[in-house]
Amino acid sequence: MPNKVTIWKIRNNNQLRKSYLNNNIKLNEFDALIKITVEMSRYLYPYIREILQSKENLERNSVIWNDFYMRLIQLIKERFNIDSMRVKKLLNKTENDEIIIKSLLTLSFCISNQGYKKLKNFLIDF
């Protein structure tokens, strides 16, 4: 990844976004995105953990989960194509809990030094 613009361009390949490019991601770009994701999840692990813990016991501490959930939904509405069925599923409160929890769990399982290989395997097997 030579610069931030390249990351921005690759990020625009996401078909869930409002405007997306239909370029195919090269294998080395796919690897680079995974490495960035793993580094970010390692950096954000304490926060990811707090979100998971907050969701486990909403009665005791619902603030962190609610903040995260509201921001996530806000970002999805802002940047994703809300007419798409897959995005509608992400916004549906009864269905999105499982998707969000499993995504957070996947990130939290991949914070080790070998996390990059783990996440790549998870994504290829997905």
Partner: protein, 196 residues
């Protein structure tokens, strides 16, 4: 002889490994290759401890269970030593069974946060250069199976790409010849040869 002790910590979970280096392999005095005891300390939960033969199946159980959980498969793992089952999306029921018939099984309820802490402690142990543990047959089989999917997909892609490219290039090449062939001219030539 003083035993070496090493701890792997992740938030609320700590994994302690106690053992000795294998001097017959000329190992460093800080190394742990012969594990005599291990302890898994989870805050607010009972202590889990055992010998090496218990550590490997427990690690395998956690790894397999976490994979099942993520891959949308039924998250249930059952073995002679440990059962892990999901109570719901957030709580996991871990049952540790003792080899002694008189000892009751230990039941732990852990959340997603503690599950990921535990997995990360096991990852640290696996990646440690100080502690060396020999992999069990279960984990070997599992990783082989795990890698198989990836290799298979890459192989399939490699197999399908060359014929696909060759067919495409054939079509492209043959389509250019259409411009060289003029059927009207050909008819005129034939008429000149056979004037009937």
């Amino acid at each position: 002889m003083m035993q070496n002790k090493l701890s792997f910590n992740q938030s609320s979970v700590s994994l302690e490994i106690i053992g000795l280096p294998d001097y017959s392999n000329n190992e460093n005095k800080d190394q742990i290759s012969i594990i005599s005891q291990w302890k898994l300390i989870i805050i607010d939960k009972p202590l889990i401890e055992g010998k090496l033969e218990h550590l490997e199946p427990i690690m395998d159980a956690f790894y397999i269970y976490s994979n099942l959980l993520i891959k949308n498969e039924i998250p249930i793992y059952e073995s002679k030593l440990i059962d892990i089952k999901a109570d719901n999306l957030h709580i996991h029921n871990v049952v540790l069974k003792s080899s002694k018939p008189t000892v009751k099984p230990l039941i732990l309820k852990i959340g997603n946060a503690l599950l990921s802490d535990t997995i990360n402690c096991f990852d640290q142990l696996n990646e440690s250069s100080i502690v060396r543990i020999k992999k069990t047959s279960i984990s070997k089989n599992f990783t082989k199976k795990f890698r198989f999917g990836l290799k298979n997909k890459v192989k399939f892609f490699n197999r399908i790409m060359p014929p696909f490219i060759s067919i495409c290039s054939l079509i492209l090449l043959s389509s250019t010849f259409i411009y060289f062939y003029n059927p009207v001219e050909d008819k005129e030539k034939k008429e000149l040869i056979n004037p009937k």
